[in-house]
Point group: C2
């Protein structure tokens, strides 16, 4: 059985696959609203039913929140690789309802400006994406069996921060950690014609610093000058955190930050990212940040330091002649490569302490730290997935980064010791979390085909 057969089978089955997705989309599995708890369970049951229909072992496991579905499928060959596929069946509330052109839970296939699209809550995030993978599995099942062993993990609390997952991972570590690689289909394409694999997620280290000087707020007319002003001290420290080139000045900050491989740098240049449009969309005209680095590079592969909040003294209406006793700032560092969050925070604390005048004390409050996650550019799974996507899309897959964090991927690494291959077919204009969410029909169709190719490639 060739992959070509599987792909033809997928194409032939598209109308039925679309019906199945529509069934799934009709379930109002809104995780944040307790009124829809039974709908969430219905979605979990529905997914377990899909897995069982394909002959896989599947169970719906209770959690303190919404249930988690776990499934296990054997490959046709015992020595096949073993992967874990993750998706979530819960969706965001559809509000505001009056902005939808049709019922958010009555999916429709409509002709959009750029082609056919499926309009419904969850069409893109994440039901449509999840089903691209299940349909690929179904096509293999119809044609001799799966090329990989697969563990399925479907949760119903992604939109509410996945509160039940850590305990679930701890309680089921042995069962879940067998696969060598996680597959996640919750990301996007670079554009409608260019597939993408997300290989870099930046880490994050957050710390609050509270500076205290006098033992109480004072009259600035009597004490201003003779008594040190902690706002001035904090401002000076923050001002010192970056140099004129936009680089972070903390000693050792760039330890573990590698330059991009030439191939990747060249690929990113070729993506022709419109920096001006990106900046204009939020009301600014010129790029800030590290001099000499493209915006893509800055957001995907460079570390940053940002003050997320600052407060001190009188901040109400009008003016007050107070010399404040305290000033504080919340600071976060985005991390890449092998930067050690603890070392970065230690360097930050030392940087602050080195700049404290007599009489100013610093208190540090940690707000969490996580390392960057990177699927090594040289990894075999990545090479195979790239080739598979190129075959389907006739275009090289962009190896993209993500400036923010995708918590589940961190949990796979931390709790299950697993790297993640992030491939998704969402498009920027999918309106996820907003009225009239859609999923391009081409994403659904070619997404299923892509997964068939990727699964075949991983097992080749």
């Amino acid at each position: 059985m060739s992959t070509e057969t599987v792909l033809q089978s997928l194409d032939a089955d598209l109308p039925a696959a679309t019906d199945r997705l529509f069934d799934f989309l009709r379930i109002k599995s809104i995780s944040t609203d307790p009124a829809f708890a039974s709908e969430c369970r219905r979605a979990a049951d529905w997914l377990a039913g899909q897995l069982r229909e394909l002959g896989y072992e599947a169970s719906v496991r209770d959690t303190p929140g919404h249930p988690i579905v776990v499934g296990h499928a054997k490959a046709k060959r015992p020595d096949a690789p073993h992967v874990l596929f993750y998706g979530h069946y819960d969706v965001q509330p559809p509000d505001p309802l009056d902005l939808w052109v049709s019922d958010p839970f009555d999916p429709r296939l409509v002709q959009g400006e750029k082609g056919e699209e499926i309009v419904a809550r969850g069409a893109s995030d994440d039901k449509g994406q999840l089903m691209t993978f299940l349909e690929a599995c179904r096509a293999f099942q119809r044609n001799g069996g799966l090329p990989c062993h697969i563990t399925f993990l479907f949760e119903g609390e992604e939109e509410t921060g996945s509160p039940s997952l850590p305990d679930f991972f701890a309680a089921n570590r042995e069962e879940l950690s067998e696969p060598a690689l996680a597959l996640v289909c919750d990301t996007g394409m670079w554009n409608a014609k260019t597939p993408a694999i997300t290989t870099m997620l930046r880490g994050l280290a957050q710390e609050e610093v509270i500076l205290t000087a006098a033992d109480r707020d004072l009259h600035s007319g009597i004490f201003g000058g003779p008594v040190v002003n902690p706002i001035h001290v904090l401002a000076k420290i923050i001002g010192d955190l970056h140099d004129a080139e936009g680089r972070v000045t903390l000693p050792g900050f760039y330890d573990g930050v590698a330059e991009l491989p030439e191939e990747i740098a060249a690929q990113w240049c070729g993506l022709e990212f419109d920096e001006t449009a990106f900046l204009k969309s939020v009301g600014v005209a010129r790029p800030a940040g590290e001099r000499g680095r493209s915006l893509i590079e800055q957001v995907w592969s460079r570390p940053t330091c940002d003050v997320n909040g600052i407060i001190g003294g009188y901040t109400g209406p009008g003016a007050k002649t107070v010399l404040p006793a305290q000033a504080s700032a919340k600071i976060s560092f985005r991390l890449v490569g092998t930067q050690d969050p603890e070392k970065v925070l230690e360097s930050f604390r030392a940087f602050v302490r080195d700049r404290l005048p007599v009489d100013v004390r610093a208190k540090f409050v940690p707000h969490g730290a996580s390392r960057a996650l990177q699927l090594p550019f040289g990894s075999e799974a990545l090479s195979r997935a790239r080739r598979a996507l190129q075959e389907e899309w006739d275009k090289e897959a962009a190896l993209v980064g993500c400036g923010g964090s995708i918590p589940i991927v961190g949990a796979f690494k931390r709790d299950l010791g697993m790297d993640t291959l992030m491939i998704g077919f969402a498009l920027e204009d999918d309106r996820i979390h907003s009225p009239n969410e859609k999923y391009a029909y081409s994403s659904f169709k070619k997404g299923s085909r892509s997964w068939a190719r990727v699964l075949a490639a991983l097992a080749a």
Copy 2:
């Protein structure tokens, strides 16, 4: 009639003067509490009665708040100088009542650790001080007449910010602006043995600066770096406002700031101000501010710049990875000499604008500006008052400054074109505004004698 006769007459009359002060102290003229409005009027009537008893013209004038008492007294010689004496008859509420050792409105003469003292609300602030002047006038009246023409101005809203004064000054400018000099007895001695004349009040210019970058708060993982962070920009600007020597770096800031006359600098050195104790009282150990300037100099005769408040981004509990759109600071400048508040604020605005990167806009919100007030060191009235005080206290009067502002003095200058001679006999431990407020009996007795000498000297 010699001044000596007047002083002897004052001494002889002390028991009766004490009774009069006690009568005044028994009136519960709490201006902030509407329940005591009739008591405020009673205090005004009582003062007008005192003036009339001395043969002066006196009237109680209605205002939207508590009444203002205006009196006019002629000197025995028509060509005598004309002064205006200001005092206030209102007092702070006595709460918390349970901390008083006796009824706050039942004045007592008690033996304190450092001598006899009058304990009552208003004993020092300002009824006792006001009566030192009235008793001096009474003694002159008993002995041939006043050496100066005197306009009396007693208000009843000093403790609530004098809201009725500006309109009252505007409506009665001609009547009130005839005197050449105002006398105010609402300040303190340097210590129990050293009289003081307050000759310098710093000015104040206040401005809020609001920096805006992107058109909304953004995700710091996606926009941090490429999009300018207004907290960083504001911090850098604030950090640049002072140099390493603690001097303010605004161009032209020190225009109009003169060095102290040698005589004054020497006198201030001689005051042996305990900087360590001053700083320790608010929990710090080392002086900050301008390098090479004593704390007295810093607070009385040097200009400063302080950030009174700063805010931007997320300031609630925990952390939030936000790249803020806005950051703002409230900044105040204390001014001395002939510094021009408007020029200082203009220089500040230019300083900020010069440091704004592309895409950051600054909005400035003024919060008021006033010049420093200085009774010229070379003024004749000051020289005469110094000699008079030295004769009474057998110690050179300290020419002190005041780091904060005394609004009435600014109003005399601005609205009536009048300099003010500020002489008072309060002591640092008088507990004004607090339970068990007291006025040293020596302050009352020698305060009256001091005013007799000062009035005589001004007319000599």
